[in-house]
Subunit: 178 residues, 2 copies
DNA sequence: TGGTACATGTAACATGTTACATGATTTG
DNA sequence: CAAATCATGTAACATGTTACATGTACCA
């Protein structure tokens, strides 16, 4: 649905090759939307056909050539349109909660190790986001819209993982000694 | 990946036809995992072939016949095994955050209507979950593992939507008068 | 007679995952 | 000399979405 738009956002920030886009989708934008390199290399020619991006082959010395994509005016228009279009709430997909409901039938002890593991994963992510928050926004969200948007994206990660850590703690209290 | 397991959980709670499963995936279990009827009717024969569920055609008076599926012992084993298997953290897929990063480039006003809309959606879900919490768990999570697991699943929905409402409020404060 | 609930499917397409495939350059 | 990084792809398969397709029974 919106991998195309996620790519447009990344290219609107700055032009990039498929390879560079993949690495951005492992960090930054990737905190909110994931994509593998296979998806990327399949999607980019489609975006080019649609006229939303342009491509240029850039020879490099000492490295393989790369094909650098940039967003076009038409791409920018399509992106602005998508920003305003209502998008349904993300389809929920919480396998941990499916497991918890499974544990309601098969016994809580089956799922305790998974809850502990998830707590650790979310706590790690939370620490990372808080560190970025300190490093990049230690003195507040800033005055310009750009900085505030980037701050808010980060902030959603903080709130998300905080609430999962809190849930795991509640769950462990309730289930560890049933 | 785990639609199969979500179906097993639902059938472990009690047997059902494809049609009934679809309606459960619109409520209860559906708060954590979504599936359309096409997915269901494609998946059930596969589960049967795998020996994880059994099927029985049940004639009904005044209604079309239905095919009722039930979990088998093998299915129950497979489910217990999955409950204990480490599952990667859910791939994040937050189109609203992609839009916010887009707004960092194209301007915050593009995304404000979407944020207001999402706030309303999450506030509605939150009210629904809190109502279920009052009605079904007004006097606490209960003493048995089954009740506690069901309570915790609900609780995760409450925390999730609470944190989104909070984020939307922060975002509207920061972006409404840039 | 028209809508909703019950009940089950097929076909085509879009998206996502896993495995396979190649090859140069840099770093330890 | 082995591993990591840069760089781009194909093929097969699994999963998810949208549209098409059919038919009964009940209620207003």
């Amino acid at each position: 649905m919106s991998l195309k738009h996620a790519i447009l956002v990344s290219l609107a920030e700055r032009p990039a090759s498929g390879y560079e886009l993949v690495s951005r989708f492992d960090r930054s934008i990737g905190y909110f939307w994931r994509a593998s390199h296979q998806q990327m290399y399949r999607e980019l020619p489609k975006l080019q056909t649609a006229g939303w991006v342009s491509a240029e082959d850039v020879p490099q010395s000492g490295k393989p050539d790369k094909r650098v994509y940039a967003i076009t005016d038409a791409g920018r228009d399509a992106l602005a349109k998508w920003l305003r279009a209502p998008v349904g709430p993300e389809p929920v997909r919480e396998s941990l909660m499916v497991k918890v409901r499974g544990a309601a039938v098969l016994g809580a002890d089956h799922v305790l190790p998974e809850i502990r593991r998830h707590r650790a994963l979310h706590a790690d992510k939370l620490a990372l986001f808080r560190q970025i928050e300190r490093e990049q926004f230690g003195d507040g969200a800033g005055d310009d819209a750009t900085g505030r948007c980037r701050y808010l994206a980060l902030r959603s990660g903080v709130l998300y993982h905080e609430s999962w850590v809190r849930w795991c703690d509640e769950a462990l209290v309730l289930l560890e000694r049933v």
